[in-house]
Every structure is written in C-alpha cells, then in structure tokens.
C-alpha cells in the first residue's frame, strides 16, 4: 500500500463517484474517463504494462469517445431540472451492494486458495503476445470473428433504416 496506490485509488473512486453524482451527462462521461485513467494507472503501478496501456488505448481512446458520441447523438442530453436520482434508488443500492459483496468475498477468498502467490510474477508484453498467438490463438480468432460480425451487423442495421424510410 504505497503512496502511489492511495493516490490512484482516490482518483479512481473520485472519478466514479463524480460519474454517478454529477447532473450534466457529458460531465458524467468525462468523470468516468477519469475513473478509467485511474484504473490504468493502478495497472501500471502493479507493473502490468500491457493491461495499463490497453486500458488507456481502448477505454480512454475509444470507449469514452463512443459514450460521448452516444450522449450527443441521442436526445435527452440536456441537464435535467430536478435531481438525477431515480425513484427506485433503493433497489439499485441493494443490487450494487450485493455485487460489491460478492466481488469482495471473491477477492478476499483468493488469498486462501492461492497462498503461495506472494512473489509478483513478471509478465512482459512479449510474453502476452506470444501466448495470444500461440496457445490462445483459437479464442483470439473467435473473438475477432465475433467482433467483425457485430460490426457488419451494426452497419446493416444502420443501412436498413434508410431503406425503409424511402
């Protein structure tokens, strides 16, 4: 628990809280990006270079932009006059608490299951690349195929609307 860890943890939590509590939707999206950046820094703090950079490249470079575009291109991006809390906030709180409890239990229990993992394993980007192309090449290809199919599907859906409008 170094100083850097606490700094990044506070940054991540502050970003997450702001994403929930702010009223303007675009502000929420930007706050979410801060949380993404905090997570990336936490990965880098743990010497997980690939995970950290992939987090920045995918989440800050692509997902945040996607979120922002989705907000701007759909209606209802105006700031609501009354509060942003929905009526059934209690159910949401209960579900969030349950998810948190399960995750916390899993993380805490992992120390008992894997007691000899005290030494930090050093995994380089080259090793990850070799594993992806070697041992895990089939899952990688399946994921690639799935993503391509999803992309083609999205394009077809967008084109279909235009045809019907004519």
């Amino acid at each position: 628990m170094t100083f850097a860890f606490w700094l990044f943890a506070v940054l991540t939590l502050a970003g997450g809280l702001a994403a929930v509590l702010l009223k303007n939707t675009v502000h929420c999206a930007l706050a979410l990006t801060v949380a993404f950046a905090g997570l990336a820094l936490l990965f880098l703090d743990l010497d997980a270079q690939f995970a950290g950079f992939a987090q920045i490249l995918v989440y800050i470079g692509a997902v945040a932009i996607l979120v922002v575009f989705a907000i701007l291109l759909t209606r209802g991006s105006e700031t609501p006059q009354e509060g942003v809390f929905s009526h059934n906030w209690f159910a949401g709180l209960a579900i969030a608490a349950a998810v948190f409890a399960v995750l916390a239990w899993a993380v805490l229990a992992s120390a008992h299951v894997l007691p000899h993992e005290a030494a930090m394993p050093t995994v380089t980007v080259a090793q990850i690349g070799q594993a992806l192309i070697g041992r895990y090449v089939l899952p990688l290809e399946i994921v690639a195929l799935l993503l391509t199919a999803a992309m083609i599907g999205a394009v077809i859906v967008a084109m279909d609307e235009k045809e019907r409008a004519k």
Binding site: F53, I60, I65, L72
Partner: protein
C-alpha cells in the same frame, strides 16, 4: 572525441547530477531530462512557426514576416508576447471548467509521447518494453481533449469542428497503428530502442532502414498519410477549415489558451514525425556508414525537421479534401492497403534472404495499388455530392 560529442547531452546530465547528494540523483536525472524536453520542443515550435510562415510565403510568392528582427526571425517572440498579454475570453455560456481543462489535457498528453522517443544513442527518457504501445495509447487520449474543447465552447462551429476532428482521428488512427505493426512484425519488439538498433546496420555502407524495403516503403507512405490526417494538417485540415468552420474546435479560445492549442498541434507533429523517423528512417542512425562520426542526435533532429518541411510543403501545395472524400479515402483505400501490407510483411519475413522476396512483395503491392486505384476511380461518379445518412 567523436564519442564525447555523440554523448555530450548524456555526459552533461551526468555531470550536473553528480553535484547532488546520492539519494536524490535518480529523481534529479529524470527531472533534468523532462525539463529539457519541455523546454526544447516549444523552442523548436517557435522556430517552426517562422519557418512555416516563410516557407508558405515563398510557395505563394509572398515575402512573409520580415519586420521583427533580421528576416523576421524574432516573429515568434512577438507572437508569444502578444498571446500572453491578450485578454483570455471565456464565453458566458461556456462550460468554464471543461473549457479550461481542454488545452491543458491536450498539451500534457502530447508531451508524454516524447518520453519514449529515442532522440539519439542512449537518449530515450524511458526505455520501455512496450514503447510503441505507450505512444499510441497516449496519442489516443488527445481525441478526448479535442472533444472537450469543442463541446464546452457551446458554439456550433466548435462542436462541428470537434466532431469532424474526432471522427477523422479515429478513422486514421487505425491505418496509423496497422502500418506501424508491420515494423513490429519484422523487428519482433515493441521497444523503440530495439527498432532503431535493428535498422542501425550497414551493407556496402548503406543502412538497413525499413523504408528501403518494399513493405517498409508502402508502410511509410501509409503512415505519412495517416499521420498528416491525425495531426489535422492540410490537406486533411477539415476540422479547422476556415472557410466553413471559422477555426473549428478552438474558435472560442483566445490568448494563451489558443497558444496552447497551437503548441499542442505542432508538438503532435513533432512527436509523430519523430515516431515515423524511428520506425522507418532508422531513428538516430546515420544515412551512410562513412557519416557515422556525426552525432546521433543530429541525425534524429534533422530527419524530424525534414518531415516537418514535407508537412509544410504539402500544406502549401494541396487543396483541402471534402469530408466524404476524407472518409472514403481512409476506409476504402488506406485501410485495405495497410491490411495487405501486413500480409506482404509476413511474406517478406518467411520468404528467406533471396531476391525472390523483393520481386514478389513489390509486385503484390504495386498491383494492389494500381487495381484498387483504377476500380475506385471507376466507381467514383463525378457530380453533385450525395449523402447516404444525412439528407
């Protein structure tokens, strides 16, 4: 003597650091390197602005700035004082916090890219195992700052400019990444130092730069196109097309914040030229073996400034593209060619050392270029613009 000159900056840093107590030496070493980067590149930016204005003026048969100092070389100082003393106007409807943060985020993100560039022998700030990945990850986060600037200004020109910029940057980031992957495939490493070391070899006194191979030349040209679009330079400067959008996403910025955007744009040009130099033009290695005695940092910076000159030359020569041409070019021409180039690179890697690989790889690339160009020109209907989604 030659080695001393080559390593003069490294030795100078060690000499300065040696005066400090042992405990803070590693930190001081990093701080000095960062300070040099943060000072050097803005100075280079000031130099480039006057270089660009003079160069453009020459192309357009004008004289250019010639009032401040001899031949107008003090013009950037006058510009700097002007932008520092100008009133900083924030529109009353603007989102002041985001409006303030956008230029800062841009400049900080762009500066971070310089951390991994090897600017000479032993002159990379961080020798990172995943240097290339770091560079692209940081580069991707500048898009958000462009959006922040455009959205927070509450101005339709700003927002349109930001939307154009983000769409363009996302579209051209794919070919930018994919053309660099070819280099990674041959070198087998994401470390920029190793990529330079792999090119720093000579046969008959000529260097092993990747640009001198068929796949390398193709990748370099595709990289150059994508880099021009990524830095929003002419002919891809639609996000700030003056005739349509006033100034794009920084329309509502004045004074020093505008200067920061200007700085960020040029720094992005420097860093992307530096990366192109590192990947394809041999980084700090000399172009001929007999010129090995010239300091390595000289080669890096002269190659980078040559790329900047090409940027300026293109800006003075080419007309601006239209938005649909820009997108069609990215997705229907540049991206398929980059994909094909990855295949050709793999072929090059596994065909052995003979002459066959030169013939095969060149033939495939030239044939693809000619066929794709012909087919797409035939499919192009010259006439009024037709929109598919926004009619």
């Amino acid at each position: 003597m030659i080695d001393t000159l080559d390593q003069i900056f490294v030795l100078l840093k060690h000499w300065i650091v040696s005066f400090l107590p042992g405990a803070c030496q590693p930190a001081a070493s990093v701080v000095i390197s960062v300070a040099v980067i943060v000072v050097l590149f803005p100075l280079l930016f000031a130099l480039t602005t006057v270089f660009e204005r003079k160069g453009l003026a020459r192309i357009q048969n004008r004289i250019g700035p010639n009032r401040t100092g001899p031949f107008g070389v003090l013009q950037p100082i006058a510009d700097g004082i002007k932008s520092l003393t100008k009133e900083d106007i924030v529109p009353s409807s603007a989102d002041s916090a985001v409006h303030f943060l956008a230029p800062l985020v841009l400049v900080v993100a762009v500066f971070m890219g310089f951390a991994v560039l090897p600017m000479g022998r032993n002159m990379a700030l961080v020798d990172m195992d995943a240097g290339l990945l770091f560079f692209f990850a940081i580069g991707a986060s500048t898009e958000l700052s462009v959006f922040m600037a455009g959205w927070s200004s509450r101005n339709k020109y700003s927002l349109l400019g930001a939307m154009r910029a983000v769409a363009q940057m996302i579209s051209y980031e794919v070919p930018l990444l994919m053309s660099s992957v070819a280099v990674v495939m041959i070198t087998g490493s994401l470390s920029l130092n190793k990529i330079v070391a792999a090119q720093n070899q000579y046969t008959f006194g000529l260097p092993h730069w990747y640009i001198f191979t068929p796949w390398g030349l193709a990748a370099f040209l595709l990289y150059a196109i994508a880099a021009t679009a990524e830095t929003n330079r002419s002919p891809f400067d639609l996000p700030e097309g003056e005739s349509e959008l006033v100034a794009g996403y920084h329309t509502e910025y004045s004074g020093f914040k505008f200067a920061l955007f200007f700085l960020g744009e040029y720094l992005a040009m420097f860093s992307i030229s530096g990366l192109g130099t590192t990947l394809f033009l041999g980084g700090w290695s000399s172009p001929l073996e007999v010129l090995g005695w010239v300091p390595s940092w000289f080669w890096f910076f002269s190659k980078m400034m040559m790329s900047i000159f090409v940027f300026i030359w293109l800006r003075g020569t080419l007309p601006r593209l239209r938005q649909d041409q820009l997108m069609n070019f990215a997705w229907k021409f540049v991206l398929p060619l980059t994909m094909l180039n990855l295949f050709v690179t793999a072929l090059w890697r596994f065909l052995g050392d003979g002459w066959e690989r030169w013939v095969f790889c060149t033939a495939i690339l030239v044939a693809a270029y000619v066929v794709m160009g012909r087919v797409e020109m035939r499919a192009e209907h010259f006439g009024p613009r037709r929109y598919r989604y926004a009619e």
